[in-house]
């Protein structure tokens, strides 16, 4: 079994990663770090650049966790990719980061976190940036 972390290069994403590491350790499971983008805009701040992923890889190696990193650019929203992966029998827990959004912001763009919370077939742990 594995703990799935929805990673984005931001304080929320780093917090989710920290929480994921803790969970994987207490549960004695492996860690799966996932970053996804629709890939249809020139700039996607949720898309982890190579140097972000390298940093994650270094940090996790240092911490001695058994991990895997996966990046998907598949034309689907990050939330859909994570929910689908969470449905596989391998995943025991999904960890995501939360941030505050204004009402208008949510109306316009929807919330990936909300969709993961509602649609994920397995338990979801949501943490804030200051975790």
């Amino acid at each position: 079994m594995t703990v799935l972390v929805g990673y984005v290069p931001s304080p929320e994403g780093e917090a989710a990663l920290r929480a994921g590491v803790d969970e994987a350790r207490t549960r004695g499971e492996t860690l799966l770090v996932m970053n996804a983008s629709r890939g249809d805009a020139y700039v996607d701040r949720g898309f982890a650049q190579q140097k972000d992923l390298d940093q994650v890889r270094r940090d996790l190696t240092e911490l001695g966790v058994d991990f895997d990193i996966r990046q998907v650019v598949g034309g689907r929203d990050a939330a859909e990719e994570i929910v689908e992966l969470a449905g596989s029998s391998e995943v025991s827990l999904v960890v995501i980061g939360l941030r505050h959004r204004s009402a208008v912001g949510k109306l316009l763009l929807g919330s990936s976190a909300q969709r993961i919370l509602l649609d994920s077939p397995c338990p979801v742990l949501a943490v804030k940036a200051d975790y």
Binding site: D40, Y42, Q50, Q71, G75, L108, G110
Partner: protein, 177 residues
């Protein structure tokens, strides 16, 4: 994965070395256009006068002949290995073959607008156009797109048709807008 400069430059070398036979279609198009222009020109009354010694026929006939000539030269060029260089661009990924489904969906959205613009009016047909194009290009946020589409067509209608006096039909919403 590399996010570096090479993304654009590697597209040139990716084309298979075999001849691009579809280019003969371009030659055929040019030749057909040439014939069409010449046939149309022969149907024009040949009126020359002292103020216009060469008349309205000469230029089309000349263009038609030149089109036939360039079609032949083009065929020779293709046969000798002349290659078509598809246009590169920042949103264009030439490593994939042409995605006809997307192209046809986009054309469909376009035709829907052209057919419906007068009966239904710009606000409805334009919204359908935006929504349809976004759908064709793979965006699946149906409701959000509908909201954006309606907002765009309403804003453009009020700003251009009512504000600036540009010609846009109100259609069935005449009197409501």
């Amino acid at each position: 994965m590399s996010l570096d400069v090479d993304e654009r430059t590697d597209s040139g070398s990716r084309r298979p070395s075999g001849a691009d036979r579809a280019q003969y279609g371009v030659c055929a198009f040019l030749a057909l256009l040439g014939v069409l222009v010449i046939v149309d020109a022969t149907g024009i009354a040949h009126t020359t006068s002292s103020t216009d010694p060469i008349g309205p026929r000469t230029v089309p006939v000349l263009l038609g002949v030149l089109l036939l000539v360039i079609a032949v030269v083009y065929i020779v060029d293709v046969a000798r290995g002349g290659r078509a260089e598809p246009e590169a661009g920042e949103d264009v990924d030439l490593t994939n073959p042409i995605d006809w489904r997307t192209v046809l969906l986009l054309i469909g959205a376009f035709v829907v607008n052209a057919v419906l613009i007068e009966p239904l009016g710009w606000v409805i047909s334009g919204a359908l156009l935006f929504w349809g194009t976004a759908f064709a290009l793979g965006n699946r946020h149906y409701l959000r797109n509908l909201a954006i589409a309606v907002a765009l067509s309403l804003i453009t209608f009020y700003a251009f048709a009512i504000g600036l006096g540009v010609n846009l039909p109100a259609g069935v919403l005449q009197g409501i807008l």
